[in-house]
């Protein structure tokens, strides 16, 4: 199966390691992936708060472009790594389907840029693709360095299963857990797995953002996690990069590696740290792997 890959802004910036590591393991798994030409920002969770129609139009432009890029009439697998990008495109699509007038308006707007949207796009999340297309067995088969003894807290964050749970259980998703277990690691019982990291609040209102991330990190430590695995650049950024500020704010030393699930896969596949962007981590993962 072919995938049109939508990176989104973060994966070219703060989330670079996510792109690097995912493309690396995708290559290992032999997934045919090509980047979407001239993609634009999805508008994230913010743009909708200013102008909803334009927000949907921005997403629709990407959907239209992906249909351009996969001209035959087969369904297009639109792969968005970032959870926010994944949801924004999914929401735009769902809202247009629910509301014909809105759809007409958006399609009309696209026409001004000689674009059309037929609606044959299927928006996919990497966990969905890995677990359901590649399959756990295939994922297992490539493991050369099992992550024996590594205790992982799989953090799905909000938007993977909310408001739409298209491929996993909304209250208790398990795809990442199954995937991580396939690497030989142990996943801890993690009831906060879909709790919010605060998104952009960390940047705008640090006190609020800090508390949300403090709760997650503290509980993950309490439950004996060696590392938190994420599937979202913003979760990763919030959980990892502010640990010093959080520690000083709550007078409690917090030092917990936060890596992308794809980096953990890469490690177990024996892919080089550089290819996986491990050097970009604030909190190095290597020590935890020594266990």
């Amino acid at each position: 199966m072919n995938y049109i890959y939508y990176p989104g802004c973060s994966l070219k910036g703060t989330g670079r390691a996510y792109e690097e590591s995912f493309l690396a393991i995708a290559g290992a798994l032999g997934l045919a992936i090509e980047e979407l030409n001239d993609w634009n920002c999805c508008g994230a969770t913010t743009y909708m708060g200013i102008d909803e129609k334009k927000a949907f139009a921005m997403a629709a432009r990407n959907l239209a472009l992906s249909e351009e890029q996969a001209p035959d009439d087969k369904p297009v697998n639109f792969l968005a790594l970032c959870s926010a990008c994944y949801l924004v495109h999914l929401k735009a699509q769902t809202m247009m389907d629910e509301n014909p007038n809105l759809k007409a308006t958006i399609i009309g707007a696209l026409a001004n840029a000689q674009l059309s949207y037929q609606g044959r796009v299927k928006i996919r999340h990497p966990l969905d693709v890995l677990v359901n297309d590649a399959g756990i067995d295939k994922i297992k088969s490539l493991v050369v360095k099992p992550l024996k003894g590594l205790k992982v807290a799989c953090h799905y964050g909000c938007l993977v299963v909310r408001p739409y749970a298209t491929f996993d259980d909304q209250n208790n998703p398990t795809s990442m857990d199954r995937l991580i277990q396939a690497l030989g690691a142990e996943t801890i019982e993690w009831p906060l797995k879909t709790r919010c990291c605060g998104g952009t609040l960390m940047g705008t209102i640090p006190d609020v953002g800090s508390r949300l991330n403090y709760i997650l990190l503290k509980e993950a430590k309490r439950r004996g996690a060696d590392v938190v695995a994420t599937a979202c650049p913003l979760c990763q950024f919030n959980l990892e990069c502010f640990q010093n500020q959080i520690s000083s704010l709550y007078g409690e030393p917090i030092h917990l590696p936060v890596a992308y699930f794809s980096q953990l896969m890469g490690i177990s596949y024996g892919i080089s740290n550089r290819q996986l962007g491990m050097q970009r981590l604030f909190v190095p993962l290597q020590p935890s792997l020594a266990v």
Partner: protein, 667 residues
């Protein structure tokens, strides 16, 4: 009738009577316009309006016109015939003409209540009236045939509702068959310790009733049995009852339990249904000490002999009365009854369907019914409230509306949860002195002494938080939360979010219709609401009747209800059934089919059409003939008859043709 005959010249003289129904119809239908229109219709002699046609003055209008104007056909334009057709037929008869010279036009349910524009409504009402007028001209005098009613009754379901209905009818001398699916009667009430708001013990008021059911000469109790088929019609139902094998000869067993003692399983090791698995039983067991009938049964799924064929069968030897019978087979009993009372009850909501409440995940999260057993003196802990981890709770949270008032589970309010939650709060507080918190959306205590009970609880120091619990988790934020279940909720009366750590959580689950309500409904040929509750004939005027004559409903199978309401409804259903039986006969709607011998070609097309084998072929005459007593009046044979020899009273081809022309040709 002399007056009538003088005034009639063989031509129909139709009277049209339009009802305002207060403003129900008048608001949407221009009555004056409609009256003027009706006056212009063929054969209409008089057209009148009245505020409430169903009232006495309204009915007298009709009778007066019949006598004075020689009206010989009556059309009433008002509500649905399913509502008031009998009323106006009676009025017509009182006037002195045959009651079937009457036709109703439904301009309320089918017009004024479902149409927004007044012009449209008036137009539609005119069409329906025209249809009725055209049709009624072709009505013919008919007589109702009477069929005797079988004096026996069937009660389905042995909970408090079924028991109440059965006893009421048996005491009045009716022969009652009480069929219960479970091995014992008593239903959910038998599992309760106390009942709200009086806190009298459930057993003390229920078990005497259970034993009098067992002892009653007029009651045949078939437990561990299910109705599998119902044929016939009001007054004369033929019922098939499946009696499941309990592998014990019921008539021999005296419930001494020696077989249970003797079972090769020295210790009970299988989840005990009656206690929701809070205790264990053996493969051969008595459901609970006061079980009625007091007869043990064997569970083939857990019994070694049934699973392996190899067992010392110590139970057989232990029974002096040789009641144990491993060869027992399921058998079908057939009975004839005149009326049926359905009291099949409800099923509790499965709390696991709301994952964020942690039921089946955290051992100390219980469903309210489990707590009913825990606080019960005859329960698994002898009434001591001990949690699965062996500890006594110091703090308890009771969560209301679990599986109620929730679009994702059940939209409706289950009606009993607020009160039983208060009851449990009282009992738990009384026995453990724990801090008890009630989390409610709205406190609903309508009922005698209910609000007072709520007040009593507040006085007792039970905490009340108005807010629907968002989640129950085991991750602590503070030292006191460590090792506790943390309830996260907005205290909506203060407007702040609270985290309340407790040892034990009670989920007050709502009531649901049985999973197989749909199948049961079909067996008895009645209707269900979307939620699966059995549908009453009329929400106010016929709350225990169904759309199938002779079949009545009582208790929670009709909708969530507490014990007082169940008992009241059971009494109502019982008296409805007895009213039917004591009358001795039922008058059948004369809408039966008949064959016009001169036209019938004897092609036999109709014969296989009849679901009741009411049509037979008469060899010598070479024609078909319909047995009116067997015919139920569906008219399928009439529609099939190629030569129009078959016709149906009240629904002849020409009556329907006229109605079609009527509804189409005037507006």
């Amino acid at each position: 009738m002399s007056s009538t005959e003088q005034k009639t010249d063989g031509q129909p003289r139709i009277g049209v009577y339009v009802c305002h129904c207060g403003i129900n119809i008048a608001l949407k239908v221009d009555i004056t316009d409609l009256i003027e229109f009706a006056k212009g219709l063929p054969n209409v002699t008089v057209a009148r309006e009245y505020k409430f046609m169903c009232s006495d003055p309204g009915q007298e209008l009709i009778q007066k016109d019949i006598k004075e104007l020689g009206i010989n056909r009556v059309v009433v334009a008002s509500c649905s015939p399913l509502m008031h057709e009998p009323t106006f037929r009676r009025a017509t008869a009182k006037g002195g003409i045959n009651q079937f010279f009457f036709q109703m036009a439904n301009i309320r349910e089918h017009v004024s209540w479902v149409t927004s524009d007044r012009g449209d409504a008036t137009k539609k009402a005119k069409a329906l009236v025209a249809g009725a007028v055209r049709r009624v001209a072709y009505h013919t005098p008919l007589e109702r045939s009477k069929v005797p009613v079988n004096a026996n009754v069937l009660v389905v379901g042995g909970g408090i509702s079924g028991i109440q209905a059965a006893l009421t009818m048996a005491d009045s001398g009716k022969r009652v068959y009480l069929v219960e699916r479970e091995p014992t009667i008593g239903g959910y009430m038998a599992k309760f310790d106390k009942t709200f708001p009086t806190l009298d013990c459930a057993a003390c008021i229920l078990t005497p009733k259970m034993s009098s059911v067992r002892a009653h000469p007029n009651i045949t109790l078939w437990s561990y049995s299910e109705v599998v088929g119902v044929d016939g019609y009001v007054g004369n139902f033929k019922v098939k009852v499946k009696r499941k094998p309990r592998y014990i000869k019921e008539e021999l067993c005296v419930g001494c339990n020696q077989c249970v003692e003797a079972c090769i399983f020295k210790e009970p090791k299988f989840a005990d249904e009656f206690n929701f698995g809070l205790s264990k039983r053996k493969p051969i067991y008595m459901p609970f000490p006061q079980a009625t009938p007091s007869v043990v049964l064997i569970d083939p799924d857990t019994c070694i002999f049934f699973k392996t064929g190899k067992c010392k069968q110590t139970c057989i030897k232990a029974c002096e009365r040789n009641a144990v019978d491993f060869d027992q087979k399921e058998k079908i009993e057939e009975i004839d009854v005149g009326a049926i009372v359905l009291a099949t009850g409800f099923k509790p909501f499965d709390a696991a369907r709301i994952p964020q409440y942690g039921y089946k995940k955290y051992p100390n999260v219980y469903s309210s019914l489990e707590i009913e057993r825990l606080v019960n003196a005859s329960g698994p802990t002898g009434g001591e409230i001990i949690m699965r981890d062996g500890k006594k709770p110091k703090s308890v949270g009771i969560v209301h509306c679990v599986g109620s008032r929730d679009e994702k589970t059940n939209r409706y309010c289950s009606r009993v949860c607020c009160m039983y939650s208060l009851k449990l709060a009282h009992l738990v507080h009384e026995r453990t002195h724990a801090e008890v918190y009630n989390f409610y959306i709205d406190m609903r205590t309508p009922g005698k002494g209910y609000e007072e009970f709520y007040d009593k609880l507040m006085q007792e120091g039970v905490h009340f938080v108005r807010g629907r619990v968002a989640e129950i988790r085991d991750w602590p934020m503070t030292a006191e939360e460590v090792g506790k279940l943390v309830i996260r909720v907005e205290d909506t009366l203060i407007g702040v979010v609270r985290r309340i750590p407790v040892d034990m959580v009670i989920l007050s689950v709502g009531l649901e219709a049985h999973a197989d309500a749909e199948d049961v409904r079909r067996i008895f040929n009645i209707s269900c609401s979307h939620e699966g509750w059995f549908l009453e004939r009329h929400p106010k005027l016929a709350p225990v009747s169904t759309f199938t004559d002779g079949i009545f409903i009582a208790g929670a199978c009709q909708g969530p209800k507490d014990i007082p309401d169940c008992v009241a409804q059971a009494g109502a259903a019982a008296s409805e059934a007895m009213a039917l039986i004591d009358k001795g006969f039922v008058e059948l709607e004369p809408n039966t089919a008949y064959i016009q011998e001169t036209i019938c070609s004897g092609c036999k097309t109709c014969i296989p059409m009849c679901p009741y084998n009411a049509i037979r072929y008469i060899e010598d005459k070479k024609i078909a003939q319909i047995n009116a007593t067997l015919c139920k009046g569906c008219g399928t044979c009439v529609a099939a008859c190629p030569s129009a020899a078959a016709q149906q009273n009240l629904f002849t081809d020409e009556q329907i043709f006229e109605e079609i022309e009527g509804v189409l040709n005037y507006v």
